[in-house]
Amino acid sequence: MSTTKYANAVAAIRAMENSLLSRNDLDQLINSATRNERENIIASKRGSGQENMTLEGVWETLRAYAPDCRELEILLYRNDFHNLKAALKSMIAGKEPGEYYIRPTNLDLDSFYSTISSKEYEALPEYLRNTAQEAYELLTRTLDGQLADSLVDTACMNAMKKAADKTGSDFMKKYAELITVCADIKTAYRCSRMKKQRSFIETAICGSSELDKDSLVRASLGGTEGLFSYLESTSYGDAAKMLADSPAKFEKWSDDVIMDLAETARMEAFGADPLAAYFIAAEAELKNLRIISVCKESGTDRETITERMRKLYV
């Protein structure tokens, strides 16, 4: 409790947390028979007219309460870098990138495409500038979309870590670290399955203080077994077990470790951490709702849906 920043925003967020779905609500949704029934359950929790919570809406609310909070911007870096990939690829393919963009984002999407097309990289946020130029040059030189994606993804992780270090927030540093670790494990697994070359793996893996880049590259060159045995020797042994089981379980594990981090902010009365945690909670809730909706439409059984549910914040 060393700072009393964002007392207003945190208190408002605490009141809003009452509208987040609980475990009980999720069980009701899983047991529901029709879409209409599900909509009624959500409406009864959030109040009439509030059924359609969107991440953009959550973001706008957070920014309205804490407009100067730089820590929160890090939460959208992945979307920003995704949008960069979308703009670059659309430019090469001669398409409009609009439908490929992910929102919310820190970028001004109205002018983003024209900025990228005209190569006015100076107009981009600093963390995106060099990556945009490098990715464009790599893409036009090699026409290898996968390699360019890897470059952008790695740059994204590095930008997150750098921005988190700059804010000095332990929460954001840990967030950036976990996102990097999860992304690196996933990339290493895919590379080992696809028997990718060392040069590609080195571009694709970012590395972190907890999972050393060189060790991870070496492990993925040794196939999935080599990767699993390396992960088991680290503090991410759970991840190896999940990956060995199924990539879907690993995805859930990745989301859950982020939620575990968010939970550490539940007891905070001030600061940016509870705001970031609320955003993470809203992200997880929307993911759960999407999973329920898709699974219900495809007739998946209740046990499977329950198994896929991400950890909740409330």
């Binding site: 409790m1 009393t4 007392a7 207003n8 925003a9 945190v10 208190a11 408002a12 967020i13 605490r14 009141a15 809003m16 947390e17 009452n18 309460y65 009365a269 001030f270």
Partner: protein, 157 residues
Amino acid sequence: MTNGLVLAILGAALAALLAGIGSAKGVGLVGEAAAGVVSVDPSKFSKVLILQLLPGTQGLYGLLTAILMLSRIGVIGGSAAELTAAQGWSFFIAALPIAVVGLISAIFQGKTAAAGVGITAKKPEHNGKGIIMSAMVETYAILALLVSILLIYNINI
């Protein structure tokens, strides 16, 4: 006006000033948090208002101390006493407990009460616990007020 009287008046001013600043900061902080909750759920206004009032008491204690001192040295009433430097310093020192403890405790009480606003936001039925936790900080302001009053009434004029 003697130097002693100036010191005693300075002490009275400090008691009102520092405790008042502490209260203003504390009440302001809780007010920020309370406004956040009310902006989402206006029905919680009365509950968060109680929490907001709590850090305001230190300012009142400072005011009470200042009035008692000014009354004791005769400034209130129009016949100011001719105080020696030693007497002036004694009054000045008598004002310090509530001035300093009032300032610090009001700020800390504000932080505790603002955290209590979070309890009210999430679990309104546990509002009382937030009030009790904030009221605990009040103890030290009351003790400081008591010491200041005892000192003021035991200085020989």
